[in-house]
Symmetry: C2
Subunit: 110 residues, 2 copies
């Protein structure tokens, strides 16, 4: 109990869930939006911008990195983060693929 039964679902469904989980927190949405619009994407900036503790931001960034959405490169003392464009497009396509499966009018049962 309390453990998602991934074995019941397809790889794609599990992947979708993992990606959605990455966006399933407003702080991570905010981080992504900030990285998308800014070219000075330093952890410290995010800490000031978002108002969460540094450790918390770092944790959110780690999650985004683990999924491959965000890359970090060491820039002297600090670390510069950015969205991985290839991965970002990949994820966009996955979501688009789900949304494009729209029910035709005659299949809408409500």
């Amino acid at each position: 109990m309390g453990l998602t039964r991934t074995e019941l679902f397809t790889d794609r469904q599990n992947e979708m869930a993992i990606l959605a989980k990455a966006l399933a927190h407003p702080a991570r949405v905010a981080i992504i939006e900030h990285l998308l619009k800014s070219d000075a994407c330093i952890n410290g900036h995010l800490v000031e911008e978002l108002g969460l503790a540094q450790a918390t931001i770092s944790q959110h960034l780690r999650k985004l990195k683990s999924i491959g959405i965000v890359q970090g490169t060491i820039e002297g003392v600090s670390v510069s983060y950015c969205i991985d464009p290839v991965r970002w497009r990949e994820i966009e396509q996955l979501f688009a693929g789900l949304f494009s499966r729209y029910p035709s009018a005659d299949k809408n049962c409500c």
Copy 2:
């Protein structure tokens, strides 16, 4: 601690997170996919299809209903579920809006 600090974020960011959360479980992805492609969307069918307990499916459906993605109409003894087309398009637009904010090449800092 352990409580998402929604007051730090914009309404849109919080909304995005809530919607992403709806997709952040493979069972819910599977349910949505099933509802999108099927016109016979009965809870019982989903239970057979997914292999989770009836109570578990019901819970996932409740979450999807609470967000407005899924509607249920009583159909005799059973309940017929479907995707709310308007809401679905709304959500598609929200996600599309996020993905469209692509960093231009000169802003990519990695």
